[in-house]
Subunit: 226 residues, 2 copies
Amino acid sequence: MENLQNILVVDDEETICEVLKLNLEIAGFNVDVANSAEEALALNMECYSLILLDVMMGKMSGFELAGIIRSTERLKDIPIIICTAKDSEDDLVEGFSRGVDDYIKKPFSMRELVLRVKSVLRRAAGKGEASTLKYKTLTLDVVGKSCSMGCKRIPLTKKEFEILHLFLSYPGRIFSREEILNRVWDDDVLVIDRTIDVNINRLRRKLGEYGNNIMTKLGYGYGFQQ
Amino acid sequence: MENLQNILVVDDEETICEVLKLNLEIAGFNVDVANSAEEALALNMECYSLILLDVMMGKMSGFELAGIIRSTERLKDIPIIICTAKDSEDDLVEGFSRGVDDYIKKPFSMRELVLRVKSVLRRAAGKGEASTLKYKTLTLDVVGKSCSMGCKRIPLTKKEFEILHLFLSYPGRIFSREEILNRVWDDDVLVIDRTIDVNINRLRRKLGEYGNNIMTKLGYGYGFQQ
DNA sequence: GAAATTTGTTATACATTTGTAACATTAACG
DNA sequence: CGTTAATGTTACAAATGTATAACAAATTTC
């Protein structure tokens, strides 16, 4: 088993670490654990393909550790995923300014985590290759959270962006309103189905000619048609 | 009926068990019930494709049973879904650490349950999300909810799609009108048998030459002939 | 904390799907 | 053959699903 990729998990909660480790191992990764930023720094981090950081930790926060990693020459290209309790804008800004590659909000499913990890690794392997999703001249910059058609920028709101992100991640697939709700809206909010229709409508308009690629499948839901 | 997948439901509440059993059977599964973890252990669990566990049960909890299943060599790959009253972090952590595949919070709708069950089974089957059913040039894109003959798209309505989906899932099998009703129509709707005939007719027409593959077995029902 | 933006809801118009009834056709069987 | 039962076909009404606009509420921004 040569090809196993090493992942470092840094979190001060033992149980969380164990869960993460177990699930990532099941997904085929080799996982090491550090229970604090300091403990992580004591390791030779060079060997990891990806580092998974919790924001909230004892002395040094995940952000700080991310900053250190990014400013260390031999570590600066290692992808970092931050686990954050809430996705406050502040966190996002702080994270991006420190070069974090992806976020995952707690509580997250293990399935989702594994998907993100794989996605980030894929991106890293191709060197920025797939940090964007494309269809013809339509480009979605997943990291920069922006959208453009050719040279023209299309300002999307968060919901619009997330919906398009979901659709372009699985072109051709039809998502039920329930699925869209689960993946775009927070778990605790309660919105009616019509809300999705309205957001789809707004997105369609902003996408101009590409708006027609967002198809309605009567009785099923919506999706992006290639 | 070879292809029926077996599901084991373990719950100490008789009524819950009955409801689950009924609904899963309608969804096309074969369901056995155990009223306690101990009772479940007495069964030969090897034959089940999925085990649905309640957390709260008399002596042994669902988690404990999950732990036992996971640590038993010949059972350890069977997918497990846990039904939990509360979604406390603790429960989630405990569950994932024992290798549970999915959660469902009470109270849940039967529709949701069936969706989760199918999703977990699909995952377990190893074939990701993408799946199509084919017969010659006829292709049914199950995730895209679309149908095509060669390059030509055949727009199907939801009912038409669902009927064809059912038929192509078990080519050669004849479905009684009652079976078709149970699998294609929602539980609470009440339609007459002739409705199915009409929908079959519509489907046949849209399928053109393949329409002839939908055969009528007089006095029994309909099916797709390979 | 006021203005601007985003997001959710409601209401209405519109389009499609679906169910049913009525009648036509076909198969089974004496 | 002719009768009966089952299924095929058609047309239309009813039910359902979706698009859109307008407004209200929430959130963000300055």
